[in-house]
Symmetry: C2
Subunit: 187 residues, 2 copies
DNA sequence: TCGCACATGTAACGTGTTACATGATTCA
DNA sequence: TGAATCATGTAACACGTTACATGTGCGA
């Protein structure tokens, strides 16, 4: 019997989990602590998010969990990525940067870059930064032209809010250019 | 018969709509065009988001829609904020900036500031910017100490990703300090 | 024995996404 | 008549949020 199974991609939270599991096998509880205590904290550390996300990853065959009784505490379930999980994750890391990725907030993009070490490929990181700078600058031109079109009588606060966004993007371009120095370009 | 009605706050999308309706009464279709064509575009312009959001606002008594047959086209429903809607909206604009507002992404904060003109209160905008800079700087210290704690052997990409966030926040502080000049402080 | 830290989960709910359906009017 | 544009909506679905429930072993 053929099952059609949508096999949708994991969400950002799913990929974040997958990335952390690439560093070291962990339990849901461990992951919650990571999300609660680090800059990844914009992702939820609540059990109602983590455990279902782990289960979905397992159902898709991207991670596998097994009981760990080595401690004397209540047995934990240690998860680690499967081969399929690793493949999907690497594909996600290498995905082309599109305009939408930039205009809908760079968070997901930075999450990807943060886990780029998994690739062990300096060229990939280099390309990522080059592409990121290029896409942001294209988007900046869009924002600039929006600023010009902005009606004169538009409230100062709206115009300033647009400026805030522009300045943040500019800072990101500078950052990307600087970060480039850390990676060798492919020949 | 007493109805207990949760009366939850609108979402960001709801507040964005409420703000746009404060500028000029509009139909769902108009709003979709605004979201599709401006920097507010990170909010959805899909009918499946806008129309339900409008209905929810109406159910809560925050906006009221009425048919407009002035055009020869299919009649549109023009929405405008009610007195209650205006009150809620102004309360939202004036809400204290909390640490979480900063660490969970500044988008909602900037949305608020963009609509600050509704208040017609320079002091409020001034305070907003001062508070924003203060909270961001506090959060920056948190990020800085996280950077120090960061294990030496942590992948360069992770450290750089953290830097990217830091640089964006710094840019925002600079922006806030500059924007301050446009508003008179209360005495 | 009581409470706490460790550890895993579930149920109800709200909302955004995608895709589809429909209605009204104009113009070729 | 058919296509295009204006305009409003719904249904199925996935996911995160909040709040609650449960289990295990340790130390006071």
């Amino acid at each position: 019997m053929l099952r059609t199974m949508r096999e949708t991609m994991p969400t950002n939270l799913g990929f974040a989990i997958l990335g952390l599991l690439h560093q070291v096998p962990q339990s849901g509880y461990d992951l919650r602590k990571v999300f609660a205590s680090t800059a990844l904290g914009n992702y939820s550390s609540s059990p109602g998010a983590i455990y279902p996300a782990l289960r979905r990853l397992e159902e898709k065959g991207l991670v596998r969990g097994r009981e760990d009784r080595s401690t004397s505490l209540r047995p934990r379930k240690l998860y680690r990525p499967t081969a399929a999980g690793s493949k999907i994750f690497r594909g996600w890391l290498r995905k082309e940067i599109e305009r939408d990725d930039v205009s809908r907030g760079v968070d997901a993009l930075m999450l990807r870059f943060a886990f780029h070490s998994v690739l062990e490929d300096q060229g990939a990181s280099h390309r990522f930064l080059v592409d990121l700078a290029r896409e942001i600058e294209a988007y900046l031109e869009e924002l600039d032209s929006q600023k010009k079109i902005f009606p004169e009588q538009a409230p100062i606060q709206s115009r300033l809010a647009l400026d805030a966004g522009i300045e943040q993007y500019r800072a990101l371009v500078r950052w990307a250019r600087g970060a480039l120095e850390h990676f060798k370009e492919d020949v």
